[in-house]
Assembly symmetry: C2
Homo-oligomer: 322 residues x 2
Amino acid sequence: MKNTMPTFTNIEEAAARIAGNIHTTPLLKSRTFNEQTGTITYFKAENLQRIGAFKIRGAFNKILQLSDDEKSRGIVTYSSGNHAQATALAARSANIQCLVVMPEKARTSKRTATEGYGAQVVLAGKTSEDRFNRAMELHKESGYTIIPPYDDSYIIAGQGTCGMEIVKQYSDVDAVLAPVGGGGLIAGCALAIKTLKPTVRVIGVETEGADDANQSFRQKKLIRYEKTVTIADGMRNLSVGNLNFEMILRYVDDMLTVSDADVIEMMRFFFERMKIVAEPTGAVAPAAVRVHSDMFKGKKVCAIISGGNIGTEDFCSLLNYS
Amino acid sequence: MKNTMPTFTNIEEAAARIAGNIHTTPLLKSRTFNEQTGTITYFKAENLQRIGAFKIRGAFNKILQLSDDEKSRGIVTYSSGNHAQATALAARSANIQCLVVMPEKARTSKRTATEGYGAQVVLAGKTSEDRFNRAMELHKESGYTIIPPYDDSYIIAGQGTCGMEIVKQYSDVDAVLAPVGGGGLIAGCALAIKTLKPTVRVIGVETEGADDANQSFRQKKLIRYEKTVTIADGMRNLSVGNLNFEMILRYVDDMLTVSDADVIEMMRFFFERMKIVAEPTGAVAPAAVRVHSDMFKGKKVCAIISGGNIGTEDFCSLLNYS
């Protein structure tokens, strides 16, 4: 499969390929949330996924289909967030050498976590471009296969298995909301959902300080920001991927935004009312159901909690008790 | 049923009576926890129970069996923790008037929460004795039925449904650990478990600063402390109940303690690794599996997370980022 748009068949293949390596995460609900919003909302709990985020789906799908030759040469990735941990875990489980390119000043805790999954950290410069370039060098010079975070057919197909699960678990769902960072999750889920049940509305959500995909969607051309400012670190990308954007235009019905303050309130609600932890990016799509509840009154909604990876220290500092 | 020890049949009746009003909570596991402890541990997630704690089981069981006459006169309780919320919710759902006696200086947030469940707050003195006496007055003068927090046959039978679920969900379990406050949960669960599978070891856990039940268990007589000091507010009782103690002596195999610091580490683990929230009392039994892991090596263990009711502010202050 070249790096072209995946098909629904590719998502079905992905589901078969990664089964046993990922969890079928539960749909959770809160009576209080539903009373407050006038909706019948279920949260797809990818915060309870392995490594604490949906990213493990794409990582396993990409890695498990590598040729024996590629596997023997090892892999490299240049994202330091959930994708890096997902790639490291999938690589370890497939017994493949894994390099993760991180900024020279990466936090010790992030290095330790990545090394804890058995990956080797390579330091390079300050910017994401520095890291991408270093990964490309490692690819060209030593044959490491690059595992991109989102702009990749296998990664997108892997993330799409989440959308497939949602339709199976909540067959009469009216609308599905997913957060949009690089666009892997929304692209894959939109393809899966629109294939299985075309009447379901698929909606992408960003924070106001990182609404590049909203702008791209409205203007129908791929916008790249100079910078993004948001507590939702999973959507600090300056733009979505090319493949991702093509799929968003084709399959996504609408895009919404919420504020950072909305995200924090949603995180607090998850903690206090539902006893679960969402990282900021993970609370973005759920927050949109509350903020834009007029759009969803009486509807059967599924909002994806994309991840739950936040330390207690960062959590408490965000919630303003630091 | 007089206030004598419940039988296993009473627990089966309780399960039938409260079905539909409570959740069958899931068993959760963590590969990391199992690697660290060398056990095969599942956590019974009563933090995901309605009102965020197992207390709803006993409250519904007690309230749903009241006579029409008792129901029409209303109920009163004198605990201000999870039992009060459970009683208030069960009463509202059965359309019964509910009074909750609280100390004169009760926190506004606690009053608001209790009133939010539709209960009426009655203020009385400072000590738990003041509150108990006021409840007795309301019972004698106006016919309100007292819903005691633990020293009651129906309450114990209700909490026992949790133990029954554990044996059904984890049929080859070797040991079950439950926290011990007033002793309702451990007494009911021990009866259920020992009836269904007598070889399962049933173990009660307390914090070091509130180990009255440990002492009572070892000395085989009911010890009442002058005071208890622990972050686990669900086990600040000065002693277990009479009925509870009788059942502990008969059905419980062992009692353990953990420190407050162990509890905090367990809460942090739940948050960071499992993305779930446990209140201090809820982390006590799980902490014992780690602290006393030598006792459980290679064993199939179930530790009950009894509740998850803690605000973000208290959580962050406990975890020392305040």
